[in-house]
Amino acid sequence: MIDLESVALRYQSGPDILKDVNFQMRPGELRFLTGPSGAGKSTFLRLLFFALKPARGKARILKRDVASVKARELPLLRRKLGVVFQDFRLLDHLSVFENVALPLRAMGQAPETYERDVLDLLDWVGLKGRTADRPDTLSGGEKQRVAIARAVVTKPELILADEPTGNVDPALARRLLHLFLQLNKQGTTVFLATHDEALIAQANGKAIHLEGGHLRDL
């Protein structure tokens, strides 16, 4: 699923943010990425969703060499990924239902073909009664659940989450973690970046630590 060999990452001509990183992840695995703020966790995730190319080394994600992926191939590859961000990245002028259905709409599906699935998904994240509401009327936890529903609506092979519990209280963080664990049990590969070590302990998951540009197992 993910195979990184001596990968270095940097923005344009800046310094290396990741140095000589080696990392493998098989389908169906759950992994946590930890590290202090500014360690480069988000940059690492950008590599995983094809927004950055390695400066050095070899990166294979979803069986594709990241360096050789062409711009026109990105949409199809990204449909195999579900990405969740700390700041949700929801479209405030669309309803909860429309936000969740957005990836399917972008794939050209008609509303009547996905209506049932989206409603089921909103039921799963506990937001069935909020389908017509706008994101700006939701709490942080509710917004994150909408973002999770949007990330999984296309049944992706790999879920990437960048600090998904960063804006919610511990009780809500546990509920969100439960959603990711459920997805993983269903066979979805989940890679979750967080600085919340209690959350990792709770999930009893394998974690890697990023600091000073280097990655090590915990």
């Binding site: 990105l74 479209l91 002028h93 669309l94 990836p103 509303p111 296309t154």
Partner: protein
């Protein structure tokens, strides 16, 4: 489930501030384009009318020569003119009428003693005009001090002026088009900048460029059409106001406005075709320039 049965909302938010500003600015540009088209049609029509008026008439002038009976010369000239093929009518102006024609240049002065030339107004058949060199030769061999003015020089001058005004109006139209394109390019950038987060989300969820472009097209299509028709409406209201303004705006202005509104069918057709092109052009400009700008932005993201 109300949100699922109704039409999906536009993916780009409606009524973004830069889009509203673009609508207003483009409507103003379209209004100016309508005025320029009106002016173009008006100038063409006026130049045609002047040229036709001049082509329908020629003037024969007889200078007073001592020892010559000018009344007899007039009769001889009229005789020659009326029998000449291509001449529809010939009418001699009396001395007072001739003096009146000089008043704009000389003012009201006593001209009884001055040798004022006598004039004959000759109406000619535009389709089959007389052979002017032959007619002039015939007149000069029978009447002393006679000359024929075919107004060719004036006709050429008017045609030149008409062409210059047409060129000027066309230039104004071209500048308006160019300015509109530049405006849309800048506005499209502002709108897309305002919607950058939406574009980023769309790219992240695997939307293809053509899907993003279609969503963008919808908003710029609506903007172009709305601005075009607002400008056209304002232009028509202006023509109507000019046409019915009467003494308030001065007779010549009102006449110009009326001549646009109540022109012959071919002129009306030209005018309407030009005016209806304005919203069409505005829509196409908005659509294509915004699409190119978006595509450039998406290429930079990739």
């Amino acid at each position: 489930m109300a949100q699922t049965s109704s039409k999906p909302s536009p993916i780009f938010p409606k009524g973004a501030a830069p889009l509203r500003a673009l609508t207003v600015t483009m409507a103003v540009m379209c209004y100016l384009a309508c005025l320029a088209i009106g002016a173009l049609v008006l100038v063409n029509r006026a130049a045609e009318a002047w040229s036709q008026g001049i082509a329908r008439e020629v003037t024969v002038q007889i200078r007073e020569i001592s020892g010559e009976d000018i009344e007899k010369s007039l009769r001889t000239a009229l005789g020659i003119l009326k029998t000449n093929p291509g001449v529809l009518d010939a009418k001699a102006l009396d001395r007072q009428e001739g003096i009146k024609l000089l008043e704009p240049w000389l003012g009201k002065i006593a001209m009884d003693e001055l040798p004022v030339p006598r004039l004959i107004r000759v109406a000619v058949d535009e389709q089959a005009p007389p052979d002017y060199p032959l007619l002039e030769k015939s007149l000069q061999s029978n009447v002393k001090g006679i000359s024929l003015d075919t107004h060719r020089r004036w006709q050429a001058e008017l045609a030149r002026m008409g062409r210059a005004l047409t060129l000027l109006a066309s230039l104004v139209l071209a500048l308006i088009t160019l300015a509109s394109i530049m405006l849309v390019v800048f506005a499209a950038r502002s709108v897309l900048e305002a919607n950058r987060s939406v574009v980023e989300v769309l790219e992240l969820i695997g939307a293809e460029d053509k899907f993003i472009s279609r969503q963008n097209d919808k908003q710029f299509l609506n903007t172009g059409l709305l601005a075009g028709f607002l400008g056209l409406l304002a232009g028509l209201v202006t023509f109507l106001a000019l046409g019915f303004s009467g003494s308030a705006a001065g007779d010549s202005v009102a006449a110009a406005g009326r001549s646009l509104l109540f022109a012959p069918v071919d002129v009306e057709l030209r005018l309407w075709a030009g005016l209806l092109l304005v919203p069409l052009a505005a829509t196409l400009i908005a659509l294509w320039t915004s699409r190119l700008t978006l595509m450039r932005m998406l290429r930079q993201h990739a």
